[in-house]
């Protein structure tokens, strides 16, 4: 009986130690671990994000990083920001934080004058324009991203103007094609 108690005691102690050891292997949850410093220096911030992403535990903070980077880049607009975002997106793809498609989507939405929402529509115009309002909403939202990306982050008015022209011309053509397709049915 006494031996049995000793055995139970040893087992409990062992479980306790294992548990303690197990806890030590859990992700670090301290607030400062994945946080970025409060700097407005865009280059330094991109470097910091790059370093943090080396740690898989910080991948969860990726959306926050992007928000902070966008905010910082807006404070210091310039053509060089495009390369910074492109490099970070490539790195994020390589590290498996986002997929290639996600990277292309984000980059297109912010920096390509053409509309990703339009490119990614696989159906014929007549069919896809039955959901014209959804497409229009997506294009309008994307134009907002482009305004952020091209005007506020890059300071590239000409490129944003080109995106606006696409928006205007596409909507005119979609209006006419939608009307022509509807008229025939």
């Amino acid at each position: 009986m006494r031996n049995q108690r000793k055995l139970y005691g040893s087992l409990l102690a062992a479980i306790g130690l294992l548990a303690a050891g197990g806890c030590a292997q859990q992700p670090r949850t301290d607030a400062g671990h994945c946080q970025l410093s409060a700097t407005n220096n865009v280059e330094r911030l991109f470097l910091e994000v790059s370093e943090k992403l080396e740690d898989p535990l910080c991948h969860y903070s990726y959306p926050d990083y992007r928000q902070q980077l966008v905010a910082a880049a807006k404070g210091s607009p310039g053509a060089e920001n495009e390369a910074r975002f492109a490099a970070l997106l490539r790195e994020s793809i390589d590290l498996g934080v986002i997929s290639t498609r996600q990277g292309q989507e984000v980059f297109s939405q912010y920096f390509d004058p053409e509309f990703y929402a339009v490119k990614s529509e696989p159906r014929s115009s007549c069919t896809s324009l039955r959901e014209r309002s959804e497409l229009e909403v997506a294009m309008r939202r994307e134009l907002e991203y482009k305004r952020e990306g091209m005007l506020e982050i890059l300071g590239d008015e000409e490129r944003f103007r080109q995106a606006q022209h696409y928006f205007q011309d596409l909507n005119l053509v979609f209006d006419a094609v939608d009307a022509a397709c509807t008229r025939s049915t």
Binding site: R90, V118, K119, Y145, R159, H165, V177, A180, C181
Partner: protein
């Protein structure tokens, strides 16, 4: 930047889109040679002929109508500026009678011109609509349209895009005549043609709409009614009809906008980011 989380559906569509599009479409990017871009035949002979007919029919309708509308405008201005609406003064009665006479003249002329104009506009709207439906609506995805619009070379001014509505374009006949000319010489600038075709189609449909409105108003205001009301007030209906005729002939003022360049400046080379762009 919360795009990634919102984009699951778009990604699926894109993947299917890339599978469906194939390599031929993937080559059709801004700055690519014309032979690699999606081909389009929006203006078959029937469209060109109906544009020419519409221009001629509009010119016939306009003959005489401008002078009548201008005369009517002057008479109305005089009527309103002299507060004739609430007066039985002999001069005012005479002015009312004159306005009604001119108005009747306009209605008669419109009534005689509408059938020819309608037939011609119908033919243009039908042929242009068929063309848009078959060439863009059924054969192309919205992405193909975007690729065509993106085929503009650097510094190319392209076709001067007709502004939405007809403000600044002048007469209805001039608008269709201008469309006819643009279509005739527009073959080399295929990237601008979807926009031009869309504008022609929407303008034809809109002109038909105003023609319908005018016809309905004329129908409800028989000659007898106009004569009966010779001594009465000028009605809102008269103003509305005159307004619609003006819109048909001159276009809506509030839709005026600058003529935009269809040929747009190409942005700086983006080869560096090609891997991050969906082609």
């Amino acid at each position: 930047m919360t795009v990634i989380c919102e984009s699951g559906l778009s990604r699926k569509l894109l993947l299917s889109g890339l599978l469906l599009l194939g390599p031929g479409w993937a080559q059709a990017v801004p700055g690519q040679p014309a032979e690699l871009r999606p081909r389009i035949n929006l203006f078959p002979t029937s469209v060109v002929e109906s544009l020419s007919d519409t221009s001629r029919a509009a010119r016939e309708m306009e003959t005489g109508l401008y002078e009548i509308v201008l005369k009517l405008e002057k008479q109305k201005d005089a009527y309103e500026s002299t507060d004739c609406a609430s007066s039985d003064d002999a001069g005012c009665v005479q002015l009312r009678k004159a306005v009604r006479g001119t108005y009747k003249e306009m209605l008669d002329l419109m009534q005689a011109s509408i059938p020819g104009m309608r037939a011609s506009l119908d033919a243009t709207a039908d042929s242009m609509g068929n063309s848009l439906r078959s060439e863009i609506g059924r054969k192309m995805t919205p992405g193909d349209v975007q690729r065509i619009l993106g085929g503009r070379g650097a510094g190319e001014t392209g076709l001067a895009r007709p502004p939405s509505g007809r403000a600044g374009q002048g007469k209805l006949s001039q608008m269709f005549s201008r469309y006819y000319e643009l279509v005739k010489r527009g073959g080399r600038q295929a990237d601008a043609l979807p926009v031009l075709a869309s504008q022609i189609y929407l303008d034809s449909v809109q002109s038909l709409y105003f023609l319908d409105l005018i016809e309905a108003e004329i129908g409800s205001q028989s000659t007898e009614l106009v004569l009966e009301l010779e001594w009465g007030e000028l009605t809102d209906q008269i103003s509305a009809t005159v307004g619609d005729v003006k819109v048909l002939l001159w276009g809506e003022e509030d839709r005026a906008q600058d003529i935009l360049e269809v040929g747009l400046q190409e942005s700086a080379s983006r080869d560096e980011y090609r891997d991050l762009l969906i082609q």
